[in-house]
Symmetry: C2
DNA sequence: GCGCATTCTGAAAGCGCTTTCTGATACCGT
DNA sequence: ACGGTATCAGAAAGCGCTTTCAGAATGCGC
């Protein structure tokens, strides 16, 4: 079933049928209706490939994230899909499972698909080779008219970005904990080669330093960026006998694991130790105790990054939108027990 | 940068370059290398549209689900992506946000994209018009060689399917609760027009009936399929003064909301009331108390439905794979308090 | 050293669509 | 009633690739 069939069945030329279905130009009303009727009658489905090839448009945007099944990315992806739907776009979603090489590979595939825009969601890697490879893909893509926007990347790329207030959020959280009276901290960290982690940690540390509180390196445990990573990190801290009154997990997902580990070791939150996370994924308010965290408007971030990628932008420079960073105090943090 | 440029730069014909890059036929070693070198030198990126148009392959599979940001779908989507990556496929993911019309629209878009396979994830709707529209899209797609596989649909569609043991799981859960000594039940239900809900409910009810236990309709509260829906449903039950000793939320996500509602109303789980869910999304084991539920291997379901869609299948009939259904007893359920 | 079978390469025909470009038709003023 | 200007339909040229089809080059046996 091709356009030609439709045209023939409607008794008009191929060009006219194309104009009607594409809405490209004015066509006399009666012809228009005949074409539409024919298309309907034959249940014609246009071939997106032929369209893209001839026209060079493409109704597809590509999204690359670390892992869709992680609530953080799932939340952002939800926002992206909503925005895409509003524009009649299709989304190609790829999970790299945190493998830099996969990310480059997907980028290249999305280029081959002539995606109208490419969104990179989630932390970049501190890795020179990866960075070079990414830029080698991105730069020609941009030059060929592709649009790129990112969430949570470092500034190496000169593209539009939605930037969570990682550093400021970390700092705000630290101040909030200091205000509660805490002086002994420990951090459950993800891989520090991820910019997101580095930023959150840096902000947290700086705010502590400003208050004259040290955060020695042995108070930072580095584990994978998952629930089990959080569990392992908290367990390790306990094993080491670290006597902190407040734990900061750099993501909520890790905090969930940490909470389980603390409970399993007979520590009560917040009576024995306070625990805070980062992201405000939906579930954390339903934990027991509900988790103090730094809020990020996940779905909105997805919508905004999509909007950035779609905006007309001939010549204007990269736009940065900062979001979130507000501390949400919940019962998982409390003043430290008087010794 | 087209294949022609590569061919010219390598000093071979277009056809030869195509054969080398497509791996379609044997090409003399030295020519092969020259083509590869030229492609690399020019950082050639093939045009997937031209490829699909000429060849009729397509490296893309389409996935339609209700909502990626829901942990249930996110988990399955994770499995799908993993399987897709293993086959070098790209995934177009669409969220319908539970709108049947959207589902049909996406199906049509994916057809236009000539997706190699289309996966429908999640409950179907009990809606004749929708069913007709879906079949009208699906049938020609299948006839044109497209592959379709589903997770959790009813049998109206004659396609490969991964079917969670909704009915059997509901029944098994009911029996487990009966074994604990419960006789007074209430159900926090999602829209019963969704086949998934209907099946879980039916299984649950049947098993109760077999034990001579009634589940009157006023013990079933129907709310939206979300955390807040669960909260609302539990609140409504409390408002009505229903004195059940065991609550069954038809999805874990609803159970999360229900747990919050119960706590907010001063009811302890499981001392005052037992609560069970369905799906075993990752978070529920970290709730307080950890939630009894019926396990579904989400990621595996994603991988299997992808495998079904990809298998060679000239002529063979639709294959059904049943998964999950095992009751996981956790502390959210306990014997009822002796009155 | 010749003929034939066997690879392998190149020319060319599409795949289904968009978009000039050209030509036909209708409409306006005078 | 006529030339000139808008409108609008149709023919045809690609978009970048795959894949026949036919022909060139190679290898083999005798």
């Amino acid at each position: 079933m091709t356009l030609e069939d439709v045209a023939r069945s409607a008794g008009v030329s191929l060009a006219t049928a194309s104009r009607v279905l594409g809405g490209t130009a004015r066509v006399r009303e009666d012809l228009r209706e005949r074409v539409l009727a024919a298309a309907d009658r034959l249940s014609y489905i246009p071939n997106a490939h032929a369209r893209a090839l001839a026209g060079s448009s493409s109704q597809v945007v590509g999204v690359i994230c670390h892992d869709v099944s992680d609530p953080y990315f799932a939340g952002i992806a939800g926002g992206v899909m909503r925005a895409a739907a509003a524009h009649g776009l299709l989304v190609m979603l790829a999970s790299t499972f945190r493998d830099p090489a996969q990310e480059v590979a997907y980028l290249s595939m999305l280029r081959a698909q002539r995606a109208r825009a490419i969104l990179l969601i989630g932390s970049g890697f501190e890795d020179r080779a990866w960075e070079r490879a990414m830029n080698a893909e991105l730069e020609p893509y941009l030059r060929s008219g592709g649009r790129v926007a990112v969430v949570s990347r470092h500034r190496a790329l000169k593209v539009d970005a939605v930037l969570p207030e990682n550093r400021a959020g970390g700092a705000a959280l630290a101040r909030a904990m200091l205000d509660l009276g805490h002086r002994d901290f420990a951090v459950l960290s993800g891989p520090r080669t991820l910019t997101t982690v580095a930023d959150r940690l840096a902000g947290f540390r700086e705010a502590l330093a400003e208050a004259g509180v040290e955060l020695p390196d042995d108070r930072i445990v580095e584990e994978s960026f998952t629930r089990d990573g959080g569990y392992a990190a908290a367990t390790e801290l306990i094993r080491r006998g670290v006597r902190a009154t407040c734990l900061f997990a750099v993501t909520d997902v890790m905090a969930v694991g940490a909470l389980a580990a603390l409970r399993d070791h007979g520590l009560r939150v917040p009576q024995d130790v306070s625990l805070a996370g980062f992201d405000d994924i939906p579930i954390v308010r339903d934990l027991t105790p509900p988790l103090t965290t730094v809020a990020l408007p996940l779905a909105e971030m997805g919508e905004r990054v999509m909007a950035l990628a779609l905006r007309e932008t001939r010549g204007s420079r990269a736009r940065i939108e900062r979001v979130g960073g507000e501390v949400i105090l919940r019962p998982s943090t409390a003043p430290p027990r008087r010794p």
